[in-house]
């Protein structure tokens, strides 16, 4: 095989058996990789009704055929499992260097099953793989674990680890790779902790075999040259200021979630957005493997109560730990970000859960005596303290560790959890960004922006602009973008480069460049239409898992704050999200019933029957 390594490593933690399996060429062709492989194996091997922490759940870590190649941003992998936070599928995506290293070791994917009797880590050194004891690492932070593992394996090895939060099954614990990159959403780290698997360490020196090296080289040069030409005089804002520059787009449209989505504009936005981060704390920009953009932030807070160094914050973190908690102290939210990275926590759900606690507290549903401290809007010290307590499940942190929906339900106000299917929203208020509301509601993992991010065209002018306030035109766009993101994720690419350079620059985003790179790498001979169909197949397969896990169309829902409480002020003043008007047209064009179930004809068309 070319493009694909053709090998999958199966690790049975219960028996300790490790086996290498060939990748079925038909599966490779029909699902491309990464997110596609994740849902293929999850549906094939995991009972959708299983206990996410039970031995029946599996973790599929999979890279795409462009991961680890010279393709621009070919850095990504996807972790697929059944989420303990939501009970739905989750497929969490991360970059860095670990995914490329996995491919250099000669493997496309790992399937991790069973439960180890004692803490272990998986050490993959080229063609060899073994489970090693990890008792000495249990309890250590992600950074300390990475240090220790590279010291006892190889200095150049790449790691994906859990911190104390994953060990303690914080329901939104992350898997951190390369120290500060996160497969963050919906508790993949907690599932790893439930399996007593502390880390995966990998070293590889191979190269991905390409079907047509000269065509690949030419395509790669063409798209990199396009990037260089566009950014020669105007450096990409993501490199200069990181993703936190996105605050400009959300604040100016009035959709920057503030105080648990009570408002869409934040008076303290200038204190926490990307340009301020650059001026105050940026040490350097840091790229993932094979990335020309370099949006990663290495930062340092030189002094004061929040002194520290690490990576971040990203835009989503600036929203969740910042505006959503009313925190305008960039040092405090950056420190909370560092704590999340070291303990292994998803920053989005962490901030959203604290924001929910703050609203419960400010409205009198949650008492100071229960928390052990006041949790007022804007209290940066409380934010940092509660983040640490959550990661360690200490005191009230043990309740926060269950996430915002369980917290709000416990205090009798489930409607105050800003979630879809139990997963906290990203940093976009759907009242002033209608397509995002539909995307949150129909995302197979719940409230994620990365399942077809409409913010690109609704707010950020990429590839072209669409009106964020209209809803009638959004169902076909959201469906198209959801399918596109399946393709980007399956290929092993990053959306930041792909949506600008590897798709046709209009709202229909035909994946021309992605197809060209995939064909040069794999020799599959895909047409762009076939690649689009694969995206649709992946999205529908994820939907089938979701439905089989007990979800229905009724769960394609948003909290009443979003659909019934008009935005109080700002450019989106008076608006609510018109989800009801969008949902049935969306189902219809997806070939789904009024209940949101894919029709037999659609499944047959996609080869899913």
């Amino acid at each position: 095989m070319h493009g694909w390594c053709g090998k999958i490593l199966r690790v049975d933690l219960s028996s300790g058996n490790i086996t290498s399996e060939p990748l079925d060429p038909q599966v490779a062709h029909d699902y491309i990789g990464a997110r596609g492989f994740g849902i293929y194996y999850l549906r094939k091997e995991v009972d959708p009704t299983c206990d996410p922490f039970g031995p029946g759940n599996k973790i599929i870590m999979a890279a795409g055929p462009l991961t680890g190649t010279a393709a621009p941003t070919g850095a990504r992998y996807v972790v697929t499992t059944k989420s303990p936070l939501t009970g739905a599928i989750t497929c969490s995506n991360s970059g860095g260097n670990f995914p490329a290293e996995l491919r250099k070791s000669g493997r496309d994917a790992l399937i991790i099953e069973g439960v180890a009797a004692k803490p272990v880590y998986l050490w993959i050194d080229g063609g060899r793989a073994e489970l090693r004891p990890a008792d000495h690492l249990w309890g250590r932070t992600t950074h300390a674990t990475d240090d220790a593992l590279r010291s006892e394996t190889r200095e150049k090895a790449k790691t994906a680890v859990i911190g104390p939060a994953g060990e303690k099954r914080v329901l939104f614990a992350a898997i951190m790779n390369d120290r500060d990159r996160a497969a963050g959403r919906a508790g993949v780290g907690a599932v790893m902790g439930s399996k007593n698997l502390k880390a995966v360490v990998v070293h590889g020196e191979g190269e991905v075999s390409l079907a047509d090296p000269s065509a690949f080289k030419a395509a790669n040069a063409k798209y990199r040259d396009a990037f260089k030409a566009k950014t020669r005089d105007n450096p990409p804002p993501l490199r200069t200021h990181g993703t936190a520059i996105t605050v400009v787009g959300t604040q100016s449209h009035g959709v920057f979630p503030t105080r648990n989505f009570q408002q869409g504009t934040f008076e303290g936005w200038e204190s926490i957005y990307g340009e301020t981060l650059t001026k105050k704390y940026l040490v350097r920009a840091k790229p993932c493997f094979s990335c020309p953009i370099a949006c990663g932030r290495v930062t340092r807070i030189p002094d004061g109560p929040f002194q520290g160094e690490g990576e971040g914050p990203e835009y989503e973190t600036v929203y969740s730990l910042g505006s959503d908690c009313g925190v305008d102290d960039l040092a405090a939210l950056t420190k909370a970000n560092y704590v999340c990275n070291e303990l292994g926590i998803d920053t989005i759900s962490m901030g959203s859960t604290v924001a929910c606690a703050m609203e419960l507290f400010e409205k009198g549903f949650l008492k100071e005596s229960e928390v052990g401290m006041p949790v007022r809007w804007g209290d940066g010290q409380a934010l940092v303290t509660l983040t640490r307590m959550t990661g360690m499940r200490e005191g009230f942190g043990n309740i926060l560790a269950e996430g915002s929906l369980r917290l709000a339900t416990r205090y009798g106000r489930p409607e105050l959890a800003m979630v879809a299917k139990g997963l906290d929203f990203a940093g976009y208020d759907p009242r002033g960004e209608q397509g995002m509301g539909l995307a949150y509601a129909t995302s197979p993992i719940g409230g994620s922006h990365m399942r077809g991010d409409p913010a690109y065209f609704e707010l950020l002018g990429v590839p072209v602009a669409a009106d964020p306030h209209t809803w009638e035109d959004k169902p076909p766009l959201v469906a198209k973008w959801q399918d596109l993101f399946c393709v980007i994720d399956a290929a092993g690419l990053c959306v930041f480069f792909s949506v600008r350079y590897l798709v046709e620059q209009n709202l229909m985003v035909k994946p021309l460049g992605i197809t060209e790179l995939l064909n040069a790498a794999t020799g599959a001979g895909y047409t762009p239409e076939e690649v689009e169909r694969i995206g649709e197949r992946i999205f529908n397969a994820e939907r089938l898992f979701l439905l089989a896990a007990g979800f229905t169309g009724k769960d394609d829902a948003l909290p009443p704050r979003i659909t019934r409480e008009p935005m109080p002020a700002g450019p989106a003043k008076g608006m609510v999200c018109r989800l009801e008007e969008m949902l049935l047209p969306y189902y219809a064009l997806r070939g789904w019933s009024h209940e949101g179930v894919p029709s037999e004809a659609k499944l047959r068309q996609l080869g899913l029957l």
Binding site: T246, I293, G461, H469
Partner: protein
């Protein structure tokens, strides 16, 4: 008439008096295109343009006191 102009990232290179937030005097009836000309923003520079938080284009007419926001297209989030 006077409008408020917010510029961000590389668009700030064209900001009035080099300030990210500045006032700009324009003739009555001026449009977004007139504002771009006044700021000498070349046609090759891509900018997302909002007037009072709503998407605007070159032909959008400006009124005194309007808040104009200009930022480059970005792949953020």
């Amino acid at each position: 008439m006077r409008v408020h102009v917010h510029t961000f990232a590389n668009i700030r290179d064209y900001a009035p008096a080099g300030k990210g937030l500045a006032e700009l005097a324009l003739a009555e009836g001026a449009t977004v295109a007139d504002l771009f000309a006044a700021l000498r923003i070349p046609a090759t520079v891509e900018a997302v343009t909002l007037v009072n938080g709503r998407r605007a284009d070159a032909a959008t007419r400006l009124n005194s006191g309007d808040e104009v926001t200009l930022f480059p297209p970005m792949e953020g989030g």
